[in-house]
């Protein structure tokens, strides 16, 4: 559904993405792995319209979206849970969730998605009236994912959802991602936790300093000697 061809992005003089091409097929989980500064987040930010491409194309269902404003990209069905969660600390949990639904005007659908998010993350329901800033790191991550789901995306982008979480929570995060995918959402996942990401990914791309150096199914990359050495600790 999402197709990126020869994408280049410059960030204040730095050539952050140097010609990336990738495909995200409908209904799949696709992951981008790589070290810090490899261009994973920049790729997601370019898709979301927060950074402008220098050249190349980003097509959603055959329609070019790379020139659109971020709010129009959201309307076309792409939502992102950004790196660092970016919860609005002064808004309540419920307000944060409703912010995710900002572009929608279908109260019935919003109510259904809110019920679904509360089912996925019962903690958020318990804390609906608490300020976002009072949540623990794990709860904030749930909120970031739930908030993105409130936009009813066909493509959900997750940037480092396991970053900074206790190991026991990391497993929960990946279970939830699979549960979301089973509901028919396509997922584009950026992760430093390469092992966990590759295990649930249908397809994966390895990025190094702005280029894709390797791609394949999650399983292929899990067994690839180069990947094992560089990202999975041998």
């Amino acid at each position: 559904m999402l197709s990126i061809k020869d994408l280049h992005v410059h960030y204040g003089g730095i050539h952050a993405i140097k010609g990336i091409s990738l495909e995200v097929p409908r209904g799949k989980v696709v992951t981008l792995i790589g070290a810090n500064g490899a261009g994973k987040s920049s790729t997601l930010r370019a898709i979301a319209g927060i950074v402008k491409k220098s050249s190349g194309s980003i097509e959603l269902e055959g329609r070019e979206i790379s020139g659109l404003a971020p709010e129009d990209i959201v309307k076309s069905g792409i939502m992102m849970a950004p790196e660092g969660r970016k919860i609005l600390p002064h808004l309540t949990v419920l307000e944060n969730l409703m912010l995710g639904a900002f572009s929608r005007n279908d109260p019935g659908g919003i109510d259904r998605d809110l019920a679904w998010v509360y089912e996925l993350f019962p903690r958020l329901k318990e804390r609906a009236w608490q300020k976002g800033g009072t949540l623990s790191g794990g709860e904030q991550q749930m909120l970031a994912v739930g908030r993105a789901l409130m936009g009813s995306p066909s493509l959900l982008m997750l940037d480092e959802p396991s970053l900074g979480l206790a190991p026991i929570l990391v497993k929960d995060v990946f279970d939830i991602i699979q549960a979301i995918n089973n509901e028919g959402k396509t997922v584009l996942l950026v992760e430093q936790n390469a092992y966990a990401a590759l295990k649930i990914a249908d397809a994966a791309y390895v990025l190094e300093v702005g280029r894709i150096v390797l791609s394949g199914t999650g399983k292929q990359l899990l067994n690839d000697p180069k990947v094992r050495e560089a990202y999975l600790g041998g």
């Binding site: 959201v74 939502m79 970016k86 609005l88 808004l91 912010l99 995710g100």
Partner: protein
């Protein structure tokens, strides 16, 4: 001083304070979202006053229609100021937008001199607003009841929009984190335009009531109230709407009371506000209700 006198001063103070508060809200909302002191805000206040009296004298509109019309036209003036003078500078250093704001302020003053002329104009007030009512020993100008009451209604309306509606949620989100708001689909430029529109509407309402209270129009009439409302916003904690209201009320009451209790200092009434500003900036720069400057861990 008798109790009756005190009540009269209190009403005068509340009236002046409400007018400051309405202007201060516009400063604080724009600052909250763009971190910009909109120095043209005092001129927006002035435009609101002129527009309504244009409507009444030139077009012979009924007061009610002229007031609504002037508020609407002034809101659009505020939105145009943003579009022309601030929007192109969104990604520029903050000082550029600030200089642009000062430029717009001068431009609008001179625009008013050209269009409305520099000669001060007298305002013909509806008689019932200035017909003194005597309650016991207290002499009450109906205006000093109407102004605080109307201001209260406007402020409640504003708080409703900010805290209970979707555009208000967008405003509160943008004020904290523009990029994340964009990622969530908030149309940032539309919300910013709405913020300018609402702030300008309140400034226009204040300007109109100011002209009823002090019935003279002139192109520079927005300068001193604008500065004082800015001080009120800083005093209350810039970025906080509640702070702007409290700051405005306290400043208005203080000004009237100082003049009432120390008539010999009446000539210095404008200086008090600026002394207050210096003291606040020295001892509590975030104001009464401002966000504490916390170090993020």
């Amino acid at each position: 001083m008798s109790l009756a006198m005190f009540v009269q001063h209190l009403l005068n103070g509340l009236t002046l304070g409400s007018l400051y508060a309405l202007i201060a809200i516009g400063y604080t909302m724009v600052y909250g979202i763009l971190r910009l002191i909109n120095f043209a805000h005092g001129e927006i206040f002035m435009l609101g006053a002129y527009f309504v009296f244009w409507g009444v004298t030139l077009f012979r509109l009924p007061w009610f229609i002229a007031v609504i019309g002037a508020i609407v036209v002034t809101s659009f003036a505020g939105i145009i100021v943003d579009r022309v003078a601030y929007k192109p500078l969104r990604n520029a250093p903050r000082i550029s937008a600030l200089i642009s704001a000062i430029g717009v302020s001068f431009f609008l003053q001179n625009f008013a001199i050209v269009v409305f002329s520099a000669i001060p104009r007298e305002v013909q007030r509806p008689a019932w607003l200035v017909k003194v009512i005597i309650v016991g020993k207290v002499r009450i100008l109906p205006l000093t009841l109407v102004v605080p009451a109307l201001s209260f209604v406007l402020m409640m309306g504003l708080l409703y929009v900010v805290y209970k509606t979707k555009p208000g949620l967008g405003m509160r989100a943008i004020s904290r984190d523009i990029e994340t708001s964009r990622l969530m689909g908030v149309p940032v430029n539309r919300i910013i335009a709405l913020t300018f529109g609402m702030g300008s509407a309140l400034a226009a309402a204040s300007g109109i009531m100011w002209a009823l209270r002090y019935p003279q129009l002139q192109p520079v009439m927005g300068v001193i109230p604008g500065f004082k409302a800015f001080i009120a916003a800083v005093f209350g904690g810039i970025g906080s709407i509640q702070g702007a209201v409290i700051g405005g009320l306290i400043l208005g009451l203080m000004e009237i009371m100082i003049v009432a209790f120390m008539p010999s200092l009446a000539g210095f009434r404008d200086a008090f506000a600026f002394i207050l500003l210096i003291i606040i900036l020295l001892i509590m720069p975030t104001g009464l209700m401002g966000e504490k400057l916390e170090d993020k861990v």
